[in-house]
Symmetry: D2
Subunit: 158 residues, 4 copies
């Protein structure tokens, strides 16, 4: 039995971008964070209230067993949710992370990780997002690595 | 644009109950917690890895503005996730909550709350669940009130 | 070896109330939440950025083993932190809980629970608090039951 | 008024290491995680149930404003708590992070960050830790940057 008979409320949400150039807005914010390039992170897809990122495996983002380090997993979760929120911002606004919680449900083992962030509530000041981190092996098989829940705050860009 | 084009990995999970009488197992656990009856909580539906509960509004579970108190919302989140996990337990095991985090995204305003807990990872020792809390008004209109992320641990029943 | 040689930064914080009648302000907010009286909760002490509450054991706030229900523990954590934040509010402002996370580190077993909330960061819009929940037995022996971390938002009172 | 009159229960905890070589055990675990060296992280101090780490600022761990990236802050929180837990492990055991939540209370601005992790509950299977992240400027002035709460699980080393 699957959960398809118990649909999620959050999947029924329709998000409207307030900046028509929301994709360029997210691309620019992504490009402006040196740590993401240093980790080798890639921006895969942006939609209103949604962002997908990709992080290929490298030794220098690994832990003791040769898997993705928890810090790399958490960073991917943070920014997947953050850019999902950023996609709904009016021009001239900025997103900062207030807090987030990550449950690592399985080791980060695979050729790359996928982070998918979704906005579940977009308020005037605060935005709430959910994130799934998937580990993808050499055959393209996906498995759930982590799930996260995040609070973002919109601030005036400086 | 909806999120339907970016399906959740966790919605593809197939959970198999280890106790064929998992519904009775959850009903018994629910009945054994005096606080739930005192709050007026009702068990609506149980499926493998899923549980739905209902909490009608009453003054004695409200806060300053006449809405559901955050404590009632959090309790509903805790047990919706807890019984979702319980549905997958082998006989003779028990669930305890290790930790959970609740984001209250809108005031708990309505005739009743619905809590829907889903297992996203069921391990030998630990289980991870996600929970949505919906507020339902007099016209049956649902809105997202809270979302939660939870860690459960299986222990030997006493 | 104790931790006394590694002092917490947050213990060095000095909080100044913005409302000289902050104690009355918290007492009034506490009295205005019907669920707290229904649970039997008591306001023990308020200081700037600090609040201590007490919750005596009763059957109707218990779970399967005759201990405090997790929902009662979480509610106590939520409001201990919430009133700690409320103590620093200017007059005419209100606190709402944005989110909180509770780790239940031991069963809630004892004659009563003590909740102690502390503000660790008081911003213009958001306040961050930490909470300890202690279980106290018949001999007055305290043990740690739960620890929590919370985000609050100040809003205009209605 | 400070909080010194409301002492934390967790500061009264006395932790006894189960491995007399707990310092070497933590040093070895730290050295075995390539991502930590890549970020430039330094192990400052280990005590039973306590760990302090240091992370100097570099452009490649920064975000849009030239401050520490949230991913670097979260990674520091994760491992500060993780090694605090590791210090109490018997030989031959390993720590994995189950979940953690980080509240970023101020931008990560300074010459370096300090992470201080403390065990608040050390169980047979699960360990709970609290973490403070401090930002330190050129004059050695510390300010609170983040606070975190974490669940760890002990597993057999491979």
């Amino acid at each position: 039995m699957t959960h398809s008979t118990h649909p999620r409320h959050s999947d029924s949400l329709l998000h409207r971008p307030r900046n028509p150039d929301y994709v360029a807005q997210v691309q620019s914010a992504f490009a402006g964070q040196p740590m993401l390039a240093a980790l080798g992170m890639e921006l895969v897809r942006v939609a209103p209230g949604f962002c997908e990122l990709r992080l290929p495996f490298r030794d220098d983002i690994s832990q003791n067993h040769g898997y993705f380090h928890g810090g790399a997993i958490a960073t991917l979760a943070d920014v997947s949710g953050g850019f999902a929120g950023w996609s709904l911002l009016p021009e001239g606004m900025w997103i900062v992370t207030v807090e987030y919680k990550t449950n690592i449900v399985a080791p980060g083992r695979g050729e790359y990780l996928i982070g998918r962030g979704r906005v579940v509530r977009s308020g005037r000041t605060l935005t709430t997002t959910e994130i799934e981190i998937l580990a993808v092996d050499g055959d393209g098989q996906e498995s759930l690595c982590a799930t996260a829940l995040q609070t973002l705050m919109a601030v005036e860009a400086r």
